[in-house]
Amino acid sequence: MATSKTSAPRIFAIAVVTTIAVAVTAAGCQSSPAAAAHSGHPGRSGARSPGTNGGRIHTLSAQRAPASWHFLTLPDRGAVLAFPPSMHRVPGDRGTVSAAEYGHSGGYLLYLNATPKQGNETLSGWPEFRIDHVAEEEHTTPHMIAASHGVRFLGGMGSCVLDTYVTKVKANHYTEIACYVQGKTSSSVIIGAAPAADWAKASGPLMRAIAAYQVR
């Protein structure tokens, strides 16, 4: 019986320590980056390259489009957007060009847009500019996955950011590569986007189209 008297406080101590362990672990998980990414605060902490999706942006480099592709020239003639035959031109803002491919249900499969420089975009500050712009003007919860500077384009150099966001309207979740490109006489932005769930399949043709983007 003497043994049972001494084991009671021992069991109590173990129970206390175990409870603290679970509480500390739960608190730590709640404050994880993943949780922060869904808190509505954009990922402004800098470029990261998790997994293969983030790494692919660093392989982006100028490459001429296949002969079978289609081309759209910006109205100011500052750049040429190339896109595969599965995509077609879609309406957009005046002064811009866009192309898209839709699925059977009418949802986007692929989206490309080229827009002349309109604001304070710079090569050095492009990733943060884009993330801030998406956060403040159009969508919620943008999250920067990776960024790359000094990217070679046909006729110029650019900076690119790979990010993901959820739209305010309809809560659509997209992943995009957005590049700001400076040519000799013009600067513009090219966007390649697709539903986040389809990014693994969509990133190939979108990156190929961005690589074929030609600036002047």
């Binding site: 001494t6 021992r10 101590a13 173990i14 320590v17 175990t18 362990a21 500390v24 672990t25 730590g28 998980c29 994880s32 980056p33 993943a34 990414a37 869904h38 998790p50 997994g51 879609v90 309406p91 957009g92 803002d93 005046r94 002064g95 811009t96 866009s98 898209a100 839709y102 009418g106 949802g107 986007y108 847009n113 827009t115 309109q118 604001g119 304070n120 975009e121 712009h133 998406v134 403040e136 003007e137 159009e138 969508h139 959820v166 739209t167 305010k168 309207v169 309809k170 659509n172 979740h173 997209y174 995009e176 932005v189 090219i190 966007i191 986007a193 697709a194 539903p195 986040a196 769930a197």
Partner: protein, 80 residues
């Protein structure tokens, strides 16, 4: 403190470490949403141009009425 109690406490601390390690490893797990993405209902009108009000694009078919105001992907505009 008895040696048995010490061993028990050490075991509990090991449990803390194991749980923390499991939590940390989940940080790099990619998150993928299952939201369905849809094309803009009305499409664009070629864009209204202008509209550099600086106040952001109103949502729900506001602003320049292009796809990114209707749940479509964001275009490359810099300030409209």
């Amino acid at each position: 403190m008895s040696s048995k109690l010490s061993r028990s406490l050490i075991g509990s601390l090991a449990l803390i470490a194991a749980l923390m390690a499991g939590c940390s490893s989940s940080h790099s797990t990619a998150h993928h949403s299952t939201h369905h993405s849809t094309a803009p209902a009305a499409g664009g009108n070629g864009g209204s141009g202008g509209g550099n009000g600086g106040g952001g694009i109103p949502q729900n078919n506001g602003g320049d009425h292009d796809g990114d105001n209707n749940g479509g992907p964001s275009d490359g505009d810099g300030n409209v």
